[in-house]
């Protein structure tokens, strides 16, 4: 019994692999999806806003006001792309979306500057201290707004042309693992999780449905094939697909974007396999619900969106409300997101991540049980 079971599983595995290799489009997508998305996101996604287009209303028109403008440009945070006669004109430009913020320098800016403690340290505790200008920001985008907010206490050394007072900061911050604060370092391992979620769930959810749609299932279920054998045989090739995608993303990320891979390859392999299995079984469960490939696709997207938005790939997990964290915890991708970032960036071992690893394992077992129970060798 045992041997004929593995013969059947192997037969399905070989058949699936042959069909996959002959489907040029799908085969191409397996390689192109990770490559294109990695290149696109690696270069494009940056949570650190720079060169924000802003406007200037300069009522002071002095050499000092020009010095303030130059000092701001030197920070690279903003680019002054337009000048306006009045605040009214600038506000219209913000509404139109031509600029994201405007700097207003009042007519008495020079006097305010000379009385400012950041310009002249003798002015500390002076009752005449006033801000030298005002930023009006399109606050709807919080990333832009916080970048501008960071300019609030900008040093005025350059304007003063001499070193001004320096107070010790309240805290010293040491940035481990990504000292240069490059967004891409966090994006690349996260991309492994998102792309695997997408391809693994999509391929398996349509794999069984495809047999139904092409009429192959009607023949298959009159043969001695058991549901479990069909499922194992059908998903096994995609484990190889998933692992090659992990390899593509991490190696391109390493060579093109200099993303470090600090953890051991064994932990990386173990974590990836656990996640691939969990995603594949999720796809299998979907395939027992979907009747057509289109439905399978829709369900995949239904899973994919929260996987991108709630898993911690785009927004920090810790910033989410508790209810959203529960939903995130239910998705396998959240656990893998934590694991792969820990392994690749912080040299964590699989053992250290036992809780997430265990959860992925349990998810897989539960998924296989549900899929086998739902998959009936009957029509209709």
């Amino acid at each position: 019994m045992g041997i004929s079971m593995w013969i059947r599983v192997y037969a399905i595995f070989v058949k699936e692999l042959k069909q996959l290799s002959r489907d040029k489009m799908t085969f191409g997508m397996i390689i192109m999806i990770p490559l294109v998305q990695l290149m696109l996101f690696g270069y494009a996604i940056n949570t650190d806003a720079r060169h924000i287009p802003v406007g200037l209303v300069d009522l002071s028109q002095t050499s000092e006001s020009r010095a303030v403008e130059h000092a701001l440009v030197a920070t690279q945070s903003v680019d002054f792309i337009a000048r306006y006669r009045s605040i009214k004109d600038a506000e219209v430009a913000i509404t139109k979306g031509e600029i994201r913020a405007v700097l207003y320098l009042p007519a008495d800016m020079t006097r305010r500057l000379f009385n400012h403690p950041l310009y002249d340290h003798k002015q500390i505790d002076s009752p005449l201290t006033l801000p030298i200008g005002q930023w009006i920001v399109d606050g709807s985008d919080t990333v832009i707004a916080s970048t501008i907010r960071a300019l609030r206490n900008m040093p005025l050394d350059e304007v003063a042309n001499h070193t001004t007072i320096r107070t010790a900061p309240s805290f010293e911050v040491v940035q481990y693992f990504n000292p240069e604060q490059r967004t891409v370092v966090n994006i690349v391992p996260g991309l492994v999780a998102v792309i695997l979620t997408m391809t693994m769930i999509l391929f398996t959810s349509s794999a069984i449905v495809r047999e139904h749609e092409h009429g192959n299932m009607e023949f298959l279920i009159t043969t001695p094939v058991r549901p479990m054998e069909l499922m194992i045989g059908k998903i096994a090739p995609y484990v190889l697909v998933g692992l090659s995608q992990v390899a593509i993303i991490l190696s391109v990320g390493h060579w093109v974007f200099s993303v470090p891979i600090k953890g051991s390859l064994l932990s990386l392999l173990g974590g990836s396999i656990l996640f691939i299995f969990a995603s594949l079984t999720l796809g299998l469960v979907l395939s027992t619900i979907a009747k057509t490939q289109l439905q399978a696709m829709q369900m995949t997207i239904f899973i994919l969106l929260p996987s991108i938005l709630l898993s911690g790939f785009m927004f920090p997990y810790d910033a989410m409300p508790v209810a959203a964290q529960w939903i995130a915890e239910a998705l396998p991708v959240t656990h893998f997101m934590r694991m792969i970032r820990a392994i690749a960036l912080r040299d964590a071992s699989l053992l250290l991540l036992g809780k997430d690893a265990l959860w992925l394992g349990l998810f897989t077992i539960g998924g296989i049980i549900i899929a086998s129970l739902r998959f009936k060798k009957k029509l209709g």
Partner: protein, 313 residues
């Protein structure tokens, strides 16, 4: 089930009161079947008459709403999996893999039925030769002609030498020449002891069966061997020849004694109820002296007589 020791005939399929409902719709209504081993049995009927559903019920693909089925001496319920090794099924639609070659399809099906190594290789070679597919062995199944696909499907369905073979409209996509060839193969299989259940909507195919059931709207209207069905037909066949047959048809079909009148070439084929004692005289009177002769009933006459609401009398 009657367990009579003196019973001589062994049945491959026995069904009593087999019923399948889809919601309010009754697809198969109280079907009784006794199909002897080693025979070719046909389901004849129009599309949607319940042929495919009956086959799916008998193979265990669908669960019956009511009724008992015994396949190869074992009750179907509870033995579906063990019976799967003993039965073969060829679906109405080509259900093998278009993007695998002929040989790869056979390899796959062979492995599914537990064939391996030399045993598998020699069985596949045997089938390729038997079904004349040697030249196509490396061709993708999707690029073959209807007849070749049909032969491949039959080869796959019979790879494990099943005792009972179900064929659901096997020749609907095949030209007449290939259809003849295909039936020759079926008689070869039958001669080797395989019981075959085949569904069709072609009269000439039904006539080749040892016995058949005429189905309509999920009901079995008549069954028996083609000859017995023709002999027992409750109607007489008269052929009328002459001119203006279309108008004659109009007048004839008004009569309650006339079951049907259909033009076939230069004749009008008229089915008259058996209770009319002098059918020739009856027709001659109605057809203004056109030439009338008695004709041998055909299976189509049987089909017409017992379907379309004419079966009641």
């Amino acid at each position: 089930m009657t367990s009579n020791a003196s019973e001589q005939i062994e049945y491959a399929i026995e069904a009593t009161g087999l019923t399948k409902r889809f919601g309010d719709n009754i697809a198969v209504n109280k079907l009784d079947l006794n199909i002897p081993k080693g025979s070719i049995y046909g389901f004849l009927g129009p599309n949607g008459c319940g042929k495919s559903t009956s086959i799916r019920l008998l193979t265990g693909l669908l669960e019956a709403s009511e009724g008992d089925v015994t396949i190869l001496g074992k009750p179907l319920l509870g033995h579906e999996e063990s019976l799967k090794k003993r039965i073969g099924y060829m679906t109405q639609k080509f259900s093998l893999y278009d993007n695998l070659t002929v040989k790869e399809n056979l390899d796959f099906v062979g492995a599914i039925y537990g064939f391996a190594g030399k045993r598998k290789k020699s069985r596949i070679e045997e089938l390729l030769a038997l079904y004349d597919l040697e030249k196509q062995a490396k061709q993708f199944a999707g690029s073959m002609s209807g007849g070749q696909k049909q032969r491949l499907a039959l080869a796959c369905a019979t790879l494990h030498s099943p005792e009972l073979l179900f064929l659901d409209e096997p020749t609907s996509a095949v030209d007449p020449e290939n259809r003849r060839e295909f039936w020759e193969r079926l008689f070869d299989l039958c001669a080797a002891g395989t019981t075959i259940l085949v569904s069709t909507h072609y009269m000439d195919e039904a006539e080749r069966c040892h016995a058949l059931a005429i189905m309509e709207d999920g009901n079995k209207r008549a069954d028996g061997s083609p000859q017995a069905l023709m002999d027992a037909m409750p109607a007489t066949v008269v052929e009328v020849s002459g001119n203006k047959l279309r108008q004659l048809k109009q007048t004839l079909t008004q009569h309650p004694e006339i079951l049907s009148a259909a033009q076939i070439g230069a004749h009008l084929r008229v089915l008259i109820k058996k209770k009319v004692l002098d059918p020739l005289g009856f027709i001659s009177e109605l057809s203004d002296g056109r030439e009338t002769i008695l004709a041998r009933p055909s299976l189509e006459d049987v089909f017409v007589t017992c379907t379309g609401g004419r079966h009641g009398d």
